[in-house]
Amino acid sequence: METVLQGKSATIKMAVVTLLARGHLLIEDIPGVGKTTLAFALAKSIDCSFRRIQFTSDLLPSDILGITMFNQETRSFEFREGPIFSNIVLADEINRTNPKTQSALLEAMNEKKVSIEKNTLLLPDPFMVIATQNPIEYQGTFPLPESQLDRFMLHLTIGYPTPEYEKQAVLMQDSFSLLEDLQPVLSRQEIVGMQREVDSVFCEDSVVDYLMKIVAATRDHPAIRLGASTRSAQFFLKAVKAHAFCEGRDFILPDDVKQLAPLVLAHRIILKTRKYLADAEMLVREMLEKIPVPM
């Protein structure tokens, strides 16, 4: 993956962390910095099916979930799976579509199954949604409500690459052909196994306390209207465990907590004044500097 998305190893790592923690990823960034490339590369390297849904204002829930059609030959109704039935789903520009479609996707994300008419269909395992959002254009968009933002485990920004990497990217051949060349490094089963291992990562009490302190701090900060929820804390610990696992440890460290806190918490808190995610992220970082790390 490093070859297709150069200079962004931290972002890639966080994407892997989300995958291992069975979470979903929200990428907020301007177009053209590699959001799609990231999602596609991730899917390719773990031998998983990948679908991309471009969210537009006229997209319907059935465009995502699938529809039931009448088959003339068998003379029965048949279900045609929508694009959501794949391991990794890229929901591009999720804030462009209407709330109805948004919530159809988000419900599927949360429950990992789809209910259509009387049938309940399980989504494949592993399942991960990578949603992207454009923070600049607000015209004609439907910003995700807070309750739905809460379902994304991590929130990332990719940002412009550094000049040297950017130059390389400009000179290099088309990234899509590079993607085609990517070989899977892990099988689907291995990913599922690793997800189980993440669950058994050891959490020392004082580190969990540290995590809870950070979560609690978002609740009584003067600049925050609404702090992080209990589900946030659950997601937070899961992500921390996955991060520790990625670092090759079977126990979590305050370092894991501190590194993930802005990514996990920033989109879950509502500020009193400004509404950009970057502001919330700054605020969380400021808060972290005030909370003593367990020794």
Binding site: D250, E289, I291, M295
Partner: protein, 639 residues
């Protein structure tokens, strides 16, 4: 150094010095150095540099010289001089606090000060000072321990400090109950200031006349079993011999027979007597007081003496507080023997004898004669505390009777006795106290020095009868607040300073009775005897101590983690000294990242890895760290 720690050190030094100063026994001039504590600790708080070594050294030598002069010349008492020295030391030390060891010195010296102070006083205020001292000392010790361990988290420290302070207080209380106070003092000699009563003295001396101030200091406190009407004549001493200037007691004294734990002056029936529990303040006197007429005494003494007038006294003078129980027979007249000594008259008594004869010219019978003399003195003379010294060669009694016609109780009593004796009636002067305030807060009577009194006893028809020729004087009563405070002080003296084996027995006895009452409902429970109870209590203390020690030991074992944390803290400090940003919110990963470019990075990251695995990893993980932390630290510190 945390501010809390500084504060505790300052507080300890101040409590130590305050404890000494509050005793009021040490010279204010010699301990004026204590003033220097304020600027000393002010500088300490501001974190200023300690005073230069040569100044401290010079002052120490001066201090030592002053101590030697003090011990030999100024106060002449090594004990008091040491007290002065400790104050000077504290003052000097406040300018010279550099290392943790200096703080420990302050603790030690303040402890010494409190021990000295405990020798000098037994007042209630000192008890308060001591409790404050105990709490602060324990807190400071715990804190200094934590500082050594390297755990600087205030929140972590506060809990054990409170816990251990509370535990110490509990243990102190237990020891307090288990170990009753004995009459023997810690350092052998008592340094209590001898109290000389202005009102009462063992001999009445008219040569040292002058103005007498009414001293409100308490002489004794009396708890009475019965409510009896006054006036209370607290009999102290009988005086039989007067040489014209001084009254003396020359009565033969003998040991009192002890019977069933009670010193019996004369046999009595319990229902006829009044029992009084008396707490006598230190008076530097051997006399024991009680309502007239004392029959039996229960006191914590090997033997007691009594003179032929029946006045008990201790074998020697004591400067201690004394507690004893007296049984007195309150009777109008008591049979007595006529002895010649009660007719002794000083030379040159003719004028007084003449006056006496003139006063009773028309009176028949000794009883009426005595009454007439008493009436005459009561009516014709003024009570006054300011008496001019008589002209040279003039008897003070004659001066009182014929010239000034003003005097106080001793003048009246002396004049009456001399007149009675000149008439051939056996008579003697009795000194002691009259009356006292009833303190309703503790239901006891306070007798003050200003209650000192002398009266007359005359032998009429084979019975000693009491006459009081002094006109009644109204004394001001103390306010309620003072009475309440006195009752607190009484309680303190009685139940804390004077917690005796008997009190202990009573306490356990009471506890046992309560348990017995309770066990009535639970027949299966057996209540141990007092001795067994004491045994169990001792056992309890031992068990608590053992458990505490075990806990400490277990903590030590588990403390390997905390030792690891301590080395981590040391590494952090060293890194901070090398210019890295190390705050409370800095994680080990951030440290490692900051140290990327330093040569010690490799060793450091190995240590951090080890630390993380041991501190946050699963227990029992194989994580040895060969070489230890010392080389890592050395590497970091090497420029």
């Amino acid at each position: 150094m945390p501010t809390l720690y500084k504060l505790l050190t300052a507080l300890l030094a101040l409590t130590g010095c305050a404890g000494l100063l509050l005793t009021g026994e040490i010279s204010l001039m010699m301990s004026s150095g204590a003033v220097a504590l304020i600027p000393g600790y002010y500088r300490f708080f501001l974190g200023r540099q300690p005073a230069p070594v040569y100044v401290i050294g010079l002052l120490s030598i001066i201090e030592l010289i002053i101590f030697l002069v003090d011990a030999t010349v100024i106060t002449g008492d090594v004990f008091i001089a040491v007290a002065h020295l400790t104050i000077a030391f504290q003052a000097l030390k406040s300018f010279d606090l550099k290392e943790p060891w200096d703080n420990l010195q302050v603790y030690f010296v303040s402890l010494l000060q409190l021990i000295i102070a405990s020798e000098l006083t037994s007042s209630l205020v000192f008890g308060g000072v001591f409790v404050v001292f105990l709490m602060v000392l324990v807190a400071a010790m715990v804190l200094s321990h934590f500082l050594k361990e390297g755990d600087r988290e205030a929140g972590l420290m506060r809990k054990p400090v409170y816990l251990i302070s509370g535990l110490t207080l509990l243990m102190t209380c237990l020891f307090f109950v288990l170990l009753p106070r004995t009459p023997y003092r810690f350092l052998g000699k008592s340094h209590l200031k001898n109290i000389h009563t202005t009102g009462f003295s063992e001999q009445v001396d008219f040569a040292s006349l002058g103005s007498i101030t009414l001293d409100p200091a308490v002489v004794m406190r009396v708890e009475m079993e019965k409510d009896i009407p006054g006036p209370f004549y607290w009999r102290g001493h009988t005086l039989d011999h007067f040489d014209g200037i001084t009254w003396k007691n020359e009565l033969p004294r003998s040991r009192i027979r002890k019977q069933a734990g009670e010193f019996l002056i004369a046999p009595y029936q319990a229902e006829q007597t009044v029992e009084q529990l008396i707490t006598l303040e230190p008076m530097d006197s051997e006399i024991l007081f009680g309502l007239s007429e004392i029959r039996g005494i229960k006191a914590d003494s090997f033997f007691l003496l009594a003179d032929s007038a029946g006045d008990p006294s201790m074998p020697g003078k004591t400067s201690r507080r004394v507690r004893y129980t007296v049984n007195s027979l309150l009777a109008d007249r008591l049979p007595g023997e006529a002895r010649d000594r009660y007719l002794q008259l000083p030379a040159g008594n003719q004028r007084i004898a003449g006056l006496a004869a003139a006063l009773v010219r028309n009176v028949r019978g000794n009883e009426l004669k005595a009454k007439a003399l008493e009436e005459h003195l009561k009516r014709g003379y003024l009570y006054s505390l300011t008496i001019d010294a008589p002209a040279r060669g003039v008897s003070p009694v004659e001066d009182f009777l014929f010239r000034t016609k003003k005097g106080y109780c001793e003048h009246y009593a002396t004049a009456m006795v001399l007149m009675l004796r000149s008439l051939g009636i056996h008579a003697r002067v009795v000194t002691g106290f009259l009356g006292g305030d009833r303190n309703s807060y503790g239901d006891y009577i306070i007798v003050r020095r200003s209650n000192a009194h002398s009266w007359v006893e005359a032998l009429i028809d084979g019975n000693w009868r009491r006459y009081d020729p002094t006109p009644a004087v109204v004394l001001e009563r103390s306010g309620n607040v003072l009475l309440f405070w006195d009752s607190v002080a009484m309680y303190w003296a009685r139940h804390v300073v004077g917690f005796s084996p008997a009190d202990q027995k009573a306490l356990f006895g009471g506890l046992r009775t309560g348990l017995l009452k309770l066990s009535y409902h639970f027949p299966a429970v057996k209540i141990p005897s007092i001795a067994a109870g004491l045994y169990y209590a001792a056992l309890l203390i031992i068990v608590i101590t053992l458990v505490f020690v075990c806990l400490v030991l277990i903590r030590r074992r588990a403390g390997r983690v905390s030792a690891l944390t301590a080395s981590y803290v040391r590494v952090r400090k060293a890194l901070s000294a090398r210019g890295l940003t190390v705050t409370r919110s800095t994680t080990s990963g951030e440290l490692s990242a900051q140290a990327q470019t330093f040569p010690f990075h490799e060793g450091l990251s190995k240590f951090l890895e080890h630390y993380n695995a041991r501190r946050f990893g699963r227990a029992g993980a194989d994580t040895s760290f060969p070489g230890g932390i010392a080389p890592v630290l050395k590497q970091i510190r090497k420029k």
